[in-house]
């Protein structure tokens, strides 16, 4: 098998100009912005298909981090000196970029956290726990990442409340009428993912919000996976909370975002206590700073926020509509390729999905797949993807997962295909 799917498909047809796909998306120019994509792994060009775990960073982000430390490093919201002023402008300016990126109504609704996990924990601690009484319910879906399960288990256990789970079908789609049936008088919060990290399923968030709000139930959406694949408008979706993480948005690790509707954030108690989150402190009583600082205790991840701001600028420059079209083309191409390979079965084939190719190979454990394709320079994830209930639902211990980002190409998927044939060769 030396001909690639691309070769067969395009035979006898006019090929698009090198580096430009059918939609005119210039992927080679984008690739040139990501220095790590030039490196080799085990003597082969790196084929990075583990984007659902973390994405690579464009030069613009690396430059922003270097510039911050070489030119402006200072603490924020404290000093009257020049550097502190510039650092504060950079940090809060990044917040405005996040606000614009998610179309929130106000910067007061954007809280910087460490990651999406911390964003969800903030809501579990400061919103859910006070709202939950014995017998109340939190409703999640069966496709959640552990980060959108465990915080609710902890909150429920603490309050004597119950975690309910809306089921998914055999293709990995949420069963919406069963979800609706599980919305009860005792439901105090719905927490669902926008897009499954293990299956690629994109949930009908606006519809979920409509059903929940009809019963006055607020909705938290875990946007870790969705935010770098498709435009997200928190006001149009109507969500009450939206969690995202910087390192999947082509930004640095250690910086996350929580969007919360101002009215809800306003009446929530603080999450962590310390400096910056207070208005005044005496030994008898402290009062809280205004939004969003009430939720940002201690010196924040200043360069992380600034790096994230640079990443969002980069994404917006390319355009999320163009990115999602490009990735949809790759997803379709990769799906056809994997479906045509003997012994390969895709896990997660919902009609509405994005950028994730989760699969298993007959008689071959995903861990062996991962090791062998790695030696071909192809980086994929193998394991349970921090979604063990999803693995149980599909009756597999683990899957192999190739996940896409804006800089991936059809040629890289061909390289994955060749590496998978190697797996067959080695393990026969």
């Amino acid at each position: 098998m030396s001909t690639t799917l691309a070769g067969r498909r395009d035979a006898g047809r006019e090929r698009p100009a090198a580096g430009t796909d059918a939609s005119g998306f210039d992927v080679q120019t984008i690739r040139a912005d990501f220095p790590i994509l030039r490196r080799r792994v085990h003597g082969r060009p790196l084929v990075y298909l583990d984007n659902a775990a973390t994405t690579q960073k464009p030069q613009a982000v690396l430059d922003a981090l270097t510039r911050y430390y070489t030119e402006t490093n200072a603490n924020v919201h404290r000093g009257v000196h020049h550097l502190s002023e510039i650092a504060t402008i950079g940090y809060d300016g990044a917040r405005s970029k996040v606000r614009a990126f998610f179309n929130a109504a106000s910067d007061r609704e954007i809280v910087f956290t460490r990651n999406a996990t911390e964003s969800i924990n903030l809501v579990a601690h400061a919103f859910a726990r006070p709202a939950l009484a014995a017998g109340d319910e939190v409703l999640i879906s069966a496709m959640e990442h552990h980060s959108n399960i465990v915080p609710w288990q902890l909150a429920c256990a603490d309050r004597g409340a119950r975690l309910r789970v809306a089921p998914i079908d055999d293709r990995g789609g949420l069963i919406l009428d069963q979800f609706e049936r599980l919305l009860s008088e005792r439901t105090r919060l719905v927490a669902v993912t926008h897009m499954s990290n293990a299956l690629g399923t994109v949930n009908p968030v606006a519809e979920i919000v409509r059903l929940a709000h009809a019963r006055d139930v607020p909705v938290l959406v875990d946007g870790s996976q969705a935010a770098y694949h498709m435009p997200v408008d928190v006001q149009a979706l109507g969500v009450d909370f939206y969690a995202a993480t910087g390192h999947k948005l082509y930004g640095p690790t250690g910086i996350g975002v929580l969007y919360g509707r101002e009215a809800l954030l306003e009446r929530m108690p603080p999450f962590l206590g310390g400096g910056d989150m207070i208005a005044s402190v005496t030994f008898e009583k402290s009062t809280w700073n205004e939004l969003p600082y009430k939720f940002e205790a201690g010196t924040p991840h200043i360069e992380g926020a600034i790096g994230l701001g640079a990443a969002l600028d980069y994404i917006s420059g390319v355009g999320l509509d163009a990115i999602s079209r490009h990735e949809a083309d790759l997803l379709a191409y990769g799906t056809r390729m994997l479906e045509s390979m003997p012994g390969v079965r895709l896990v997660g084939t919902a009609p509405h999905k994005a950028s994730i190719l989760s699969f298993v190979m007959e008689h071959i454990h995903p861990h062996d797949i991962g090791t062998i394709v790695d030696r071909e320079g192809v980086a994929i994830r193998t394991g349970h993807h921090c979604a063990q209930p999803v693995m149980d639902r599909f009756g597999v211990p683990a899957t192999a997962r190739a996940s896409l980002a804006m800089y991936n190409t059809r040629e890289e998927l061909d390289a994955l295909g060749a590496a998978l044939r190697k797996v067959h060769e080695v393990l026969g």
Partner: protein, 147 residues
Amino acid sequence: MSNLNELYQEVILDHNKRPRNFRTIEPATHRADGYNPLCGDRLSLYLTVDGGRISDVAFQGSGCAISKASASLMTDAVKGQSLADARGLFERFHRMVTTPPDQPVEDMGKLLVLAGVREFPVRVKCASLAWHTLKAALDRQPEVSTE
């Protein structure tokens, strides 16, 4: 590629495809379950210990080629051994797979095929799972995890 061939040697591929002693023992005098949360490998180990000697040993479970072959090779290796010898073999195996890849290892006969995992640090746990489970069974710990 040479490293890959060292990892997936014929003996390992053979034991992966046709694992020896792949069954249960009911009732067993000793048993333990092993779990590697990183890759979801699970195995149950069953022993019949008779007069201080392992007269029968078997395993069941699902896992990658390395963990399955390692479990299969281990059951062959410890069958008939005294408990003291089996514990000694655990120690020697553990030493072999944790020796840096550029240093020589003791000749452990058939088990030497698993020395190739040293080039693949994340796979050492796959090779060790069955052995840790054996130790747990002998120490009478019902469940062991390699994380």
